[in-house]
Subunit: 209 residues, 2 copies
């Protein structure tokens, strides 16, 4: 089994944190997405969408999409569950992970991809107005997460889950995207300190899986 990845990029990073949380080790292949390696014929066979991360299983089956890869590991290694346990919990984790993705992570990505000069080659057409429109959406998403974190310990409730990983990676990506995190988000700041202390996150980006 091999994980095609580049941990500095936010989506692969979600998988790496997930794997460290579950204490799973996986062989990795570093892919330099800035050098056009994703557009090559061989990689396109693995993922027609030409994106990392991709998990290649021993039989050659390839799983792409960050959450699909995480779900594969959750199913194979149910210990330390990160998608919830009961039906309500699983639905709640799915809801909060999707809320985080749709209302926060994606706006931050759009601010970056449509606003940063280095992305002009990858994001065509690059639409500055769309980058600008997403900045307040990202802040609104952050406020929604903060509201939850003023009431609950973690993004999806009382238990650490994949929704915390998505939210954390989004918060860290605010800096390259130049989205300023407003002051006064006390729930978010409290949670951020707890997150930074988790070994899965405190680990260096270069350590295996």
């Amino acid at each position: 089994m091999k994980l095609y990845t580049h941990e500095q990029a936010p989506n692969p990073r979600r998988v790496h944190i997930f794997l460290r949380e579950k204490q799973i080790k996986v062989e990795t292949v570093q892919v330099d997405f800035m050098k056009g390696e994703l557009k090559g014929e061989e990689f396109t066979k693995k993922n027609p969408a030409q994106r990392i991360p991709v998990l290649e299983l021993d039989g050659g089956t390839c799983i792409s999409e960050t959450v699909a890869i995480c779900r594969y590991f959750e199913e194979m290694y149910p210990l330390r569950p990160l998608f919830g346990l009961t039906a309500v919990e699983r639905a709640t984790v799915e809801m909060w992970n999707r809320r985080t993705e749709l209302n926060f992570l994606m706006p931050v990505f759009h601010v970056f991809r449509h606003g940063h000069p280095a992305m002009a080659e990858l994001e065509k057409p690059q639409i500055e107005e769309w980058s600008k429109a997403n900045r307040p959406k990202a802040i609104e998403g952050l406020a929604m997460i903060n509201d939850q974190l003023e009431k609950k310990q973690f993004v999806a409730g009382d238990r650490f889950s994949i929704a915390d990983i998505s939210a954390y990676v989004g918060v860290k990506f605010c800096r390259p995207a130049k989205v300023d995190i407003p002051e006064g988000l006390d729930g978010l700041q409290r949670w951020l300190k707890v997150m930074e202390e988790r070994p899965s996150i405190a680990a260096k980006a270069t350590s295996p899986a």
Copy 2:
């Protein structure tokens, strides 16, 4: 248990098809999203993102996000599985459902929401250039789904799944979004005929759940 919905809208429609596939009956409350009912204080408590569908459980817990609602029903009623059975199958369904959402359904929605005059009040700012940029993305997504359907019976492989529901609703939404489906997508057309014959889809939109 109550489902807040409006079946004519594409996301609620995914839940209704899902429920009919699994032969689950649920009490529904029709919400007129064009009349601003989603912005009311009471509804905002149920879903801060002010969107339908929302599933309210008997204890008052509210689950929003289409796929989270479907997952709740899958967990509660595992018969006629629509999220896959084995670990690889579950990851593959997740992958194809997300591919369909990200590369096809969302571009179609963006074409519509940023291009249709009736959406000007709901989508602020409405950016026509972003609508236009998403039209070719939607067609690319459709081509990706067609490639898969030239090789496989269903979107996620050999078994009908939630990914088929997402793709089908997207294809039907191409008309209001004015995204013309290119000729020559034979796999897609073959599958579309099979889909239209399924009782869950052939059923009138007005029939219960």
